[in-house]
Symmetry: D2
Subunit: 352 residues, 4 copies
């Protein structure tokens, strides 16, 4: 446990990079020594994100020239695009094997090499690291994360759905063949790349589903729901875009097994999360709003009766950039470095 | 069929009243002769809605003093709150029985007096009118509407869901016990009453479900879905609020019966609406956005495969103030007065 | 005056192109026969703007292959980027000299070739057309527009400021050296090009000025304010971006000359616009909101006392896509083709 | 200097109350022991603001029953409406004279009893406290605040304008009779009272000025600008509402005196704030965005050339709930209790 860990962020010019910085700048036990952004190399963070103008931060550099061994980093956050990550981390861990890594991409989330190849259409470039990687959903894998060198930070949609469903599946309390997840996300989930479809005038003042009938990135959800249930689970999942910056809300329709009433499902969740610092179960029948977790690392979960007997509605909400990405990444970092789990990520939500 | 019909709007100071005026001001076959708003009586419309400042409109008056017979109105739109409507319309039709009425409240939507009493907790105040009223979903009841004196304009959520589901239920193409309607609405659906929960800072930059597990206003949906299916249908329904002004999007999860594939469901809808001026079915696998129907009287419907075999996702979108309320009301008026159905409501959507 | 004019739009895949189509689809005296968009050539309008899905429109083509003479167009709207326009229009008018053109770019707005060269850093490519072009602010140049072949449609910011200031300058009622124009625009003014700075998450939930101290596109404003005043006028001008789609609001600070009170300035404006169909002066002391002109071709203007004696605040509001661009372009077209000036552009504003 | 100060908030159910709690919950040197809200008395904070659901906080009580002496409060934040504050604080300080007070209302901001009576139309109810109160703009009155018992926290609009103007006026660097402040605020500045004009659908997707030509709450600005300039200053001021939650941006037009160039004005501001933790001057010609200070206690200031020679444009931005209200109140508290000035209010801005 270092007095002040030396930290790097790969891919610091995107939204998850900015969110990491927001949290890490005030974290008392670390020093930010490396920031990369290939297209913005040579620039100051203030040119990329003016909110950091008052703070003293390293300039952005390109990944290519870095001497990983000389950098003496204790931990690196990798916020690179899906696909490019495998090679970078393989190279890094070869040259500086004592460095710890929290990877925010999807590259190390699947445990099964065959599943990876099936979903992504090619063999994994670092299969030995794939098997080493620990899935970083802290509430489930806390113990393994503490000793991990490489943690695969979960996706935002899947974190939101898993936290609502895993305790119910583990308890075999719901039917596994009728789960419908209707998910709604703020715009930051789409990243910072300049695309016509993400312009303000294309996405404000309206609402839509996207990728309906396509199934990308569901592999991670299938894997974890199935693990919890002890049998294969394929849930219906539809993502939507909300004209707001932050937040995911999942409205999840389930049927109780063996007569389990919605209130019993609620009790299961309340018990499962009673001691969790970042999951809060609301009183039965109350459901959460994304704005009440904005900027915080909290997940709020509610359960209510469906009007159809035997069915329940579970609603979970989190901030896709915090608990859905960078906040959870810092939570993982805290465990990996032996710090208190909530250090630097205990901000109260910003509302209004 | 009058050369220029004499039209009144009861409750002109709310959002559905303003939307009626937006459409009626440019309708070539009518004259607006009466506008009421009890709390704003004596004011000009420009004081209540400044966008009407350039137009010559009657001042707002209170309902109380009106001599219905002397007013010689051809047709009245009633945009009063649920509950107050029954007595007003009863009084009006007693004194001016030749006047036609399009009622935008829920008061005359249920055909069965027992169902009304069960849902609303009291006997209907005008049961003879309840049985006379025609349910104003034009695509289903066009013929009856043409000769009706009193039309009950459908609700916004239920119009959106019904247009997507009725042809499928009539064709017995989907299971009736597994329908999940996840609905999302813009803020104008909540009306113009000053409530803390509807302030900008309470509802912008966030997303939430409301009334989960409560079942108000579902009576109308149950009635119409069941009529179409020929058996009782109770659908799961969750409404959500989107930080936008106009629009409803319903994401509807269904299971095909007897092996009906999603593409077959799509074909059923495309055929059903092939000649409808205000329902447009997108190519298979495309799903709509609310912004593309904003300010128009169109409903866009899409169908896609669910990732769970045997299931389909149907998505429908409309503008809650236009096809979901005032546009549909004018569509009803056109039929009742013998005008072309699309007259005055053929605006192209306003996007961006 | 053709029974149905044959109309083309060059650059139909941007926001001003879409707004032109919204208005023209319902215009009773024309036929849309040509739509171009180089990067989207071959696609249907519904692929570019799904709101046009229900309408029968020509596919998008590239400009290059067009035979202007064979196209037999009565009038073309040119919504191409600034700079590329000159050559296209020169070519077009050479080959089809009877075609009329409404150009929405800045290329033909300056009357003085020397001013053009000074502002844009190069000689004009079609100086003979530059001198032929009529500046298309209808309220000022209506007579000349009626017989023009080439009309330069004014810019959105400058239309908003000019309509508020020109009658005051013509009457020599305000000081010319102390005019401050603080202008705020919605996001559609920035166009549809995919730029990081225009992403939803970059521009929602915040407000900022841009280009402060730079002076692009002020040439047009200088020219017209100076013409009206009969002497050189250089106004202070700061543009800002508002997280909304449509609308420009200009808050203009002026000092009355020779003791002119704000109420006298108001009277001057009210008189000047008394018969104008698209400029509406509010009662003294009331000021407009952009939302009350949304989607309409109206400009609302208000005048109030400043708290500093001798000074007045003039506020004007319009929809940048309608009166600020495409609506004004159709207004020009109507005059050029001999149609009633308000035909097809008399929509009531969409609020809420 | 107490180990843990006992803190109360009067008026905790409004937005400034919520913002105080967001900051104070994580402040390491205090204990929140009293929360009042007359209309919500008896409720838990989680019922009023669900984001506080995970935290242990006192229930809301009514002010009436409080025994101020027994409460043994070290410091009270008073976030009550303007007007009701004077009597409450007078009563409180009579019964518990050792309690310190930071008042967020306008009641104690004016030093001159005659000015108070002139602006508010009645004598001040606690003139002895009025003369005791220290104006809480820390950057100007830091020394006096440290020993004050009663601090009048400045208004949000006026903090934003003062921080940009005071160093320029003190240096006699700008003309005092030509200052134009064009100010734009987010919606939280209007408070949480349920008013039709503040509903989402009334204020989203549009922009407007309000109160133009009226001059409320300018007394405080006049007082402080005049103090700094050493002569009477009356600035032009127009407030506008932006469809966003948080943030104020002031675009300020000034003329340099005795040939002072804009870059010299910039240098004056940069020097004045070089050591201030919460005021950051951007490089010359760069101007700030409100989103880059959201949720932080920072003020960003920029200066650029006007296109009119001799004039400069100064732009300042802050979060109206943080530096414009509750953050500044905590900054005052820190000084009054002898804590480090930045304790608990050094959050990095939340963007996006």
């Amino acid at each position: 446990m270092p007095a002040k860990a030396r930290i790097g962020i790969l891919g610091a010019s995107g939204y998850t990079g900015a969110e990491l910085l927001r949290l890490l700048i005030r974290h008392p036990r670390l020093e930010i020594v490396l920031l990369t952004a290939d297209r913005r190399a040579g620039q100051a963070m203030r040119d990329v994100f003016p909110q950091f103008s008052p703070y003293d931060l390293p300039h952005l550099v390109s990944i290519e020239g870095i001497d990983w061994a000389a950098a003496k980093l204790d931990l690196i956050f990798c916020a690179l695009p899906h696909g490019t990550t495998q090679k970078v981390i393989k190279d890094l861990l070869t040259k500086a094997p004592a460095t710890k890594v929290v990877d925010l991409s999807a590259d190390f989330r699947l445990a099964d090499p065959a599943a990876y190849a099936r979903w992504y259409g090619h063999e994994h470039h670092a299969p030995e690291l794939q098997s080493e990687a620990v899935y970083g959903l802290v509430e489930v894998y806390r113990r393994a994360i503490k000793t991990a060198r490489l943690v695969a930070n979960p996706g935002c949609y899947t974190t939101c759905a898993q936290l609502a469903l895993l305790p119910l599946l583990k308890a075999k309390a719901i039917a596994t063949d009728e789960i419908v997840i209707d998910a709604k996300s703020g715009m930051t989930g789409a990243g910072r790349a300049a695309k016509e479809a993400m312009l303000f005038s294309e996405v404000s003042e309206g609402f839509h589903a996207y990728g309906v009938g396509h199934h990308r990135h569901m592999a991670e959800l299938d894997q974890e729901l199935s693990r919890a249930a002890g049998r294969e689970v394929i849930a219906t999942f539809t993502p939507h875009l909300v004209p707001m910056n932050r937040g995911i809300l999942s409205t999840i329709y389930v049927r109780g097994r063996r007569g389990r009433a919605p209130s019993e499902l609620h009790a299961l969740l309340a018990t499962a999360y009673a001691r969790e610092p970042f999951v809060h179960v609301l009183p039965f029948s109350e459901t959460p709003q994304t704005r009440h977790v904005r900027g915080s690392n909290m997940t709020f979960i509610g359960v209510a009766n469906d009007r159809v007997p035997g069915r329940a509605i579970v609603v979970s909400a989190l901030d896709n950039l915090t608990k859905g990405a960078s906040g959870q990444a810092v939570q993982n970092m805290n465990l990996m470095l032996g710090y208190p789990e909530t250090m630097g990520i205990d901000q109260v939500a910003l509302f209004p």
